[in-house]
Symmetry: C2
Subunit: 452 residues, 2 copies
């Protein structure tokens, strides 16, 4: 067995947290869940796999799918029509689920989904191949009112605002606005223009200009106008006159401007400072049709977006049935990776255990078990010592594990006592009624550096 | 797109729950988590994949692994030494994690892990290819005291006892007991005997006898003794004299009898009725070395085990480092599948939403949003109507979704009112202080048929 163990190293792109980090992750995810449910979102979990042809309907990521093959597959089985791939996001599976179960759902359907996704990327530093996303989406039949485009960032703000992490800044744009602008400029293929503009942060304006000339056959004035549009970003509706000033006209542009203005106005009223309009935000995925969003963690802007989403009118469509939707996705693993890396999250202790019951002798184990059972009945996390030893040694074991209280069973008719090993205070106590201070019952997550 | 949608049918073996069922699953898993943490177990989540050679170290299930291949893999990449497969249980990844991170863990290490696992089985009715397991394990360095073999069933009993499901019955056996018995009988390959006995429930004593003759070269008296041992099952330690009466002697048998007697005695003291000793329990996996367990749901015995586990001394071993462990695994998907199938679990409503804020006119949306925000600040799940309509129509929408309360914003200086749409009672209310009855705040899971 020694040989196989020689390769026990992490697999690039498949992060694993230590138990105390997993405790933090769970507690943060619990708060996201609570926030989503406060806003009336129902939970959903879809299977990890989709038929390959479903996954490949979405252009840009088709290269990143993991395909499954049974180890004992017959020849040819792996390339069958119904080959299965691991999902690379939660939107495609959600759209499929809605179509498959439309008759059993109530619309508008508000759902959240917190799950792992996989991308068959080449291994590279900082590139996740398995990660957790927390998605919220609203879909309706036939039409989806625009007010949901204003509501979703508020849900995100409420959810992330309930976590001990730096605040997020959301940047929003609107596909109709951009597409109308490009069409009004005389550029016939807005999708190609968007794909070039989407690279602005990565490759800079000079290379985007070259790309636009190359892939969209844009002339100098058109390129200049595209880059000017991408440069507009405002926290209020002053982006509207700024865009107007560029002198482009198109009905789709008007629609987009009005929708984005409504999103900004709603955010300003209910969550000042949360959201800005930013015409640079393109989001490469071609299924977006209205508002698009991106969010960054304050202090970690250079790491890129930690949330993203937008409106999609045509993703869940089957024959004459249409379920337009809007969604936002939180990169849970990405956020944790950044904050763990910066040492910005701490837990008040390393284990769930609040009370460590010391063991005078192995024959006292049944009595120690009864004490532990009494404490657990009142929701106090408790474990019993692995073995009897001098009390000093058992206290050290508890301290090393970060357990705040040690319980000493009374021997020969003496009462039980409990010691707070941080303060050294030791008191007579009854397992049927003693309780720890509120802050000590469960491990507590705190931010350790604020906004870094 | 119509064409691809024609195949929108469930994939055999990959179950998906509806949102209300997912809500039940989450709430039950929350209670399992709370129970495990009450007993001092820390959470862990491992990556979904392991190197194929790690997965194949375990004999019997090697045929059921899903191997991953990048869609754009270069030729030969998929058969590389470091090919990745989806894990088929949580024990093998846990053992690997312990070896990889031993220096950063405190021992004895108590961990729980609730995750999906995958088995590349051929599609078949009732056979899951993706399912959720909830595992608890304790590992220590070098040696692991036997009292943990008595503790684990108690944790399982506490955890499952906190759910609104039929009680479980745990059946325990001990590998040393069986192996010692077989060796004492003169059967040299106890593993082969165990594998035959493991099939007793499936194929019956006649075929097991044939198998024993065939694979273990057992003679008639030996077969008779093996079947006699497998027939012993007692709720107290009377199995000890019953086994002794079969006249077989071996030091390993003595050890096993003593260990199993301790497990039974501890269970009888702390959780009467939870556990019986049953010499038929073999558990096919060859890594078990001490106590083995299986548990069934009362009323669903014919569906087989819903929990299983045991002690393994050699799974996490690397050179001179040894981390003996013991674990129990709860088949979460299996339990839910049985209970959903029997209609034995219900939720008090279909959505998390407690209050539906009606909308007099679209222009009242900001005011309605403020009401919703005030209710949510006090943890009352709230959604705002998708569109304005006559109140009668909006009440119907809320009722169809199962939302208990409809909130009517006050218009023209009139106060807000809230209606319980089940009783029809309508009261003046202030969003800053009104609250629902405790049972209405969140959806509540109940058992609908008791022990079926």
């Amino acid at each position: 067995m020694g040989a196989t163990m020689a390769r026990l190293t992490p697999i690039s792109g498949f992060p694993e947290w230590l138990p105390w980090q997993r405790m933090i992750e769970q507690r943060l995810v619990d708060r996201l869940r609570a926030a989503f449910e406060r806003h009336g979102f129902s939970p959903l979990e879809t299977r990890a796999v989709e038929p390959l042809d479903q996954l490949l309907r979405k252009g840009e990521t088709s290269k990143e799918v993991y395909v499954l093959r049974r180890l004992q597959a017959e020849p040819g089985e792996e390339i069958a029509d119904d080959a299965l791939g691991l999902h690379f996001d939660l939107t495609v599976p959600f759209a499929r689920f809605v179509l498959e179960n439309a008759g059993r759902l109530q619309f508008p359907f508000r759902r959240y989904q917190i799950q792992k996704v996989w991308r068959g990327e080449r291994p590279a530093a900082g590139r996740y191949r398995e990660f957790c996303q927390a998605d919220i989406d609203i879909v309706d039949r036939e039409t989806l009112p625009a007010h949901y485009e204003a509501e979703l960032p508020l849900v995100l703000g409420d959810a992330l605002g309930s976590l001990p992490i730096p605040p997020v800044g959301i940047r929003a744009n609107n596909r109709k606005l951009c597409e109308g602008f490009y069409l009004g400029l005389g550029l016939d293929d807005p999708a190609v223009v968007l794909q070039a503009v989407d690279k602005l942060d990565k490759i800079g304006p000079q290379r985007v200009a070259e790309l636009l000339a190359e892939t969209a056959q844009a002339g100098e004035a058109q390129i200049k106008a595209c880059l000017a549009l991408a440069g507009i970003s405002t926290g209020d509706d002053s982006f509207v006159p700024a865009v107007r000033q560029l002198g482009v006209e198109h009905p789709l542009l008007d629609e987009g401007l009005a929708e984005l203005a409504a999103v900004v106005a709603t955010a300003r009223e209910h969550a000042p400072g949360l959201l800005v309009a930013d015409m640079k935000i393109a989001r490469g995925l071609d299924y977006y049709t209205g508002t698009v969003y991106e969010a960054q963690l304050r202090g970690f802007e250079s790491a890129g977006a930690v949330c993203a989403g937008g409106r999609y009118d045509n993703l869940a469509t089957s024959g004459t049935d249409r379920y337009p939707g809007i969604g936002l996705s939180i990169g849970v693993t990405r956020i944790l990776g950044l904050l763990f890396g910066a040492g910005a999250l701490a837990l008040s202790r390393q284990v769930p255990t609040c009370v460590f019951v010391a063991l005078p002798a192995e024959s006292d184990r049944p009595a120690a078990n009864r004490i532990a059972a009494a404490l657990r009945r009142r929701d106090i996390p408790t474990e019993v010592s692995a073995s009897p030893a001098k009390y000093g040694k058992q206290i050290k074991v508890a301290a090393r594990r970060g357990i705040p209280f040690v319980w000493f069973p009374g021997v020969d008719g003496a009462p039980d006592e409990v010691k707070d090993i941080r303060s050294g205070e030791q008191l007579v106590a009854d397992p049927e009624c003693w309780g720890p201070p509120d802050d000590d019952r469960y491990p507590v997550v705190t931010a350790t550096t604020g906004e870094s």
